[in-house]
Amino acid sequence: MSRGSWGGRLARVRRAWVWRDGGAGAAVGRIGGQPNPATLSAETDTPAARGPGWTAATYLRGLRLATVLITFAGLLGLALPVIIAHAEVYRSLTMELVAFGVLFAVAVFCAVRADPGRWRWPLLVLVFGSALLALTGVPPELVVSRAEWSFMLLGWFGILLLLDKGIGALLIFLGVHAAVNLGQLVLVGQANRAALVGLLIAGVTVFGYQVAVGFAAVMLHRIAAKAAVAARAEQQRRTATAIAAELQRDHQERYAALSRTALPLLVDLASGRADPGDELVRRRAAVEAARMRRLFAEGDEVADPLLHELAACIDTAQRQGVSVQLAVRGQRPPLDLAVRRALTEPALATLVAAASTARVTVVGSANAVTVSVVADAPEPPVVRADGVEVTNLVNADRVWVEAKWRAQN
């Protein structure tokens, strides 16, 4: 489903909420606008909506924190004492200290920023560079020994930097790391059986932990993603339900609006109580036709609902051969449906009663809206409409009917 249609429907639902608020009766003049925040937040921010995705994300954060702690513990508790203890043995102590410093800095960076972002690949290069520096600083006979401290630590950096890239990335990282160490062993001519076995044992022990953590992270990632999808689907379902409920309410409202006036007319016509030849009956029918048109127009998504609904009323009159002019002036605030109906109702009754010409005007200001009709119609019945003030004026063969709404404040 496209974003647009969801947006439109949501807007509808929001508007419907505003109607409900406005309909509560506090003020007829309540102007649309922001939906009730309590209603909306209740819909979108329930624990159920955050649910399993939120839990998995929390565990993932915990796992990451644990990895950061392990890395620091490894650097400070294992590597640093080893470097100090072997200070005399290394080919270059500086190389070891530089490598340690760089790795420490990377660890600090990872502790501060959960997502390395565009620094991921430069950091990986730095990590491998430091490992190479540390490795080449170790004398050949100590390549497979505690003195080569970077071997056991490097995997944790792989996890920190590649946590979200899947288990494959971590395995490649560890593979490259092992290959570099093996290569160095061969290069320095120490590839004897004891050294190889030593490397293998160290590799299995250390990598085992690291791969296990990597797997856990991958699983948590998957759960989090699945849960997010489920949560989204759930939310869409709830939105769809809300929309359906609102549409149903709209339909019922419309039916109720029609049944008050249109159905009695139809019943009268069917039973023969009303004579279609009678002018008054014909006008009643025309009014109902205009109301129906307006009712259908109320459901449309348009920029200016008042003018749109008024156009529906004008259309009915034009179909009866009345020449209608419309002129609009001033800026109007947005109006509730009930106010719009009250404003157009007197105009509607006058328009369908017009003999040949009518002029419709809409005048708006910041706190008042007037819909007015001048037509060559017989004096229209006084239309009662809540929340608006209706005035009639008759002069010679013309009537002037005006409905005015004022903001209440």
Partner: protein, 219 residues
């Protein structure tokens, strides 16, 4: 340009039916208004015989342009011509812009039959004339530089726009028809007195003061 003399006009409109209609209204008027020249471009108003006409009836959209011809209007006004903008366009912003430039009146084509002849006559005599469409624009004007109107003046303008009958406005607001006219004219003078200076505006204000419609201290 005294009222006793024959009033002359030039009609600039690219629609032959409009030109024919305006000519017919002018010749049927009592006393008649002589249309000296008609044509689809503003050149008619600058060359004889149109150049000596008392009043220019100007369509704001000549040819296929989508932009209103404010430039033509400005040049005519600055040359001291009395211009009545006569247009299809019924929107407040255009109406107010034309008045600011110094157009004598702004008339929509729907209002032509009722108001154009009277507007031409008023223009020739430097008397204010405010048809309903223009009244509606002024009555709902919210721009920062607008003249200050009394609430009653604003009511009268909006009601005049709404019902197009000064009699009904008077009836509704409990005023005499004369008072309604005075309010409408006074507002028009207030608008002529603000903004860009133009000889036509000055003439309108001068005539209003001379006739006692407004006092100098009111402006």
């Amino acid at each position: 340009m005294a009222s006793a003399e024959l009033i002359t006009a030039v009609v600039v409109d690219d629609h032959p039916a409009i030109v024919a209609g305006v000519q017919a209204w002018c010749s049927l008027a009592d006393p008649p208004i002589e249309v000296l020249a008609t044509g689809p471009t503003v050149a008619e108003a600058w060359t004889e015989p149109g150049a000596s006409a008392d009043v220019v009836v100007l369509d704001l959209h000549l040819g296929n342009t989508t932009q209103p011809g404010y430039g033509d209007l400005t040049r005519l006004v600055d040359a001291g011509r009395q211009v009545i903008v006569y247009t299809m366009r019924d929107d407040a912003e255009t109406a107010l812009t034309c008045v600011d430039i110094g157009a004598f009146a702004y008339l929509t084509k729907a209002e032509g039959q009722t108001h154009l002849v009277a507007a031409i006559r008023a223009a020739a005599n430097n008397l204010p004339y405010t048809p309903p469409a223009l009244a509606g624009a002024i009555g709902t004007d919210t721009r920062g530089n607008r003249p200050r109107l009394a609430p009653r003046e604003q009511d009268v303008l909006v009601e005049w726009f709404t019902c197009e009958s000064k009699e009904m406005v008077a009836q509704k607001l409990g005023l005499s028809a004369r008072t309604v006219n005075t309010y409408i004219d006074r507002v028009r003078i207030k608008y002529a007195n603000v903004g860009r200076a133009a000889p036509t505006k000055a003439a309108l204000v001068a005539r209003a003061i001379q006739d006692g419609l407004v006092a100098l201290e009111d402006l």
